[in-house]
């Protein structure tokens, strides 16, 4: 009976969504969207302040927001304050996991298998490669797909590999806590410096350079690397808490 009611409810909700999409002048059909009619036009042309500059890869100087990746321009520049809130949410959830699962009398969860020599050595070698890939993706976030969020998660994944390959391994959790606090504090300090120099919180106060160079876009690569470090250390803390159990 309950299943039938749930089924009817779900069908009604889905039907309402599809009906609302079909007969709506404000909401375009799938495949017919035109970003030039919406706010995104200003983001693509980089003229939120009505600068009316041409954006050309490798040539345009001194744009108001200069990462070649438009998604990065939105995440780390136009809506940077929003991103600060998002990584705070992630911090609070990692704090909640630590509160529920962490503690003083905890030991490493035994995985009930002993890794052999090849697995240990191979995972040590792979650890460096995955870590470097994560850092590369975080540093090049303003030029290529990726950025701080996947880069930080890759850093955490490389630590996860070490956890799986060694039965007794535990990271220095205090070090990661320090790294996380440092990254979060630097983010806020950069925002405050922008407030004093430019008049807005998280104002881009460094020269933006040429679109497409590695050293361009002002504070955006710095902020994205800080986001990567913060996300990586938070997720490493979550993994460490999940791989502990009560000491008997």
């Amino acid at each position: 009976m309950k299943h039938v009611l749930a089924f009817i409810f779900v069908i009604v909700v889905g039907g309402m969504i599809i009906y609302a999409l079909q007969s709506n002048d404000q909401f375009t059909q799938y495949g017919d969207n035109d970003p030039r009619q919406t706010t995104s036009d200003a983001y693509i042309n980089r003229d939120v302040r009505d600068t009316n500059q041409d954006v050309i890869f490798g040539e345009s100087d001194d744009l108001e927001s200069a990462p070649a990746n438009t998604v990065t321009a939105i995440v780390a520049d136009y809506r940077s304050f929003d991103t600060l809130g998002e990584i705070t949410v992630l911090f609070i959830s990692s704090l909640g996991v630590a509160l529920l699962l962490g503690g003083v009398n905890k030991k490493r969860m035994a995985l009930n298998y002993t890794p052999n020599f090849m697995l240990r050595v191979g995972s040590r070698a792979l650890f460096g490669i995955i870590l470097m890939t994560g850092i590369f993706i975080a540093v090049h976030g303003h030029l290529t797909p990726g950025g701080g969020f996947p880069g930080g998660t890759m850093i955490a994944s490389s630590v996860l590999l070490l956890y799986l390959a060694d039965d007794q391994f535990r990271t220095k959790v205090t070090g990661f806590k320090l790294l996380e606090s440092f990254a979060g504090m630097t983010y806020v300090i950069i925002g405050l410096v922008g407030l004093f120099i430019g008049g807005y919180f998280l104002e881009n106060f460094l020269p933006t350079g040429t679109l497409g160079n590695l050293f361009s876009a002002g504070i955006i690569p710095i902020i994205y690397v800080l986001i990567g470090l913060k996300v990586g250390s938070e997720i490493t803390g979550i993994i460490d808490n999940f791989l502990t159990e009560e000491a008997l």
Binding site: T70, L90, V97, L211
Partner: protein
């Protein structure tokens, strides 16, 4: 086509959330619902023949037809928040198991 798939994925997740009685299955339903919503939000900004919103040496001016970058930026952060909520839910599930000895919602509080 992918938009309708996203809506159906959302419906499947909602149905699982309403009918499943196992805590882990409920978290899995929540994940499926979230993936459906993410695909739906990204599909809102898509149009036929659009380019990925990244300037490269071949797609090099702003006069080209790029897809809408704003939904992608919203979804990028939403995915990372999803990991946080999933981890918190799984930690709560472990605490529930330590407290009640079961993960089935119907068997809780009977002993």
């Amino acid at each position: 086509m992918l938009q309708y798939a996203a809506i159906i994925l959302f419906m499947i997740g909602l149905y699982g959330l309403l009918t499943q009685r196992h805590v882990i299955k409920i978290i899995i339903s929540l994940n499926i619902l979230e993936m459906g919503l993410n695909i739906f939000i990204v599909s809102v900004g898509y149009f036929e023949g659009g380019l990925a919103p990244i300037f490269t040496s071949t797609n090099n001016t702003n006069a080209l037809a790029f897809v809408d970058p704003l939904p992608q930026a919203l979804v990028l952060t939403a995915i990372v928040i999803g990991v946080g909520t999933t981890a918190l839910g799984l930690a709560l599930a472990r605490k529930i198991y330590a407290e009640y000895g079961t993960l089935n919602l119907d068997e809780m509080g009977e002993e």
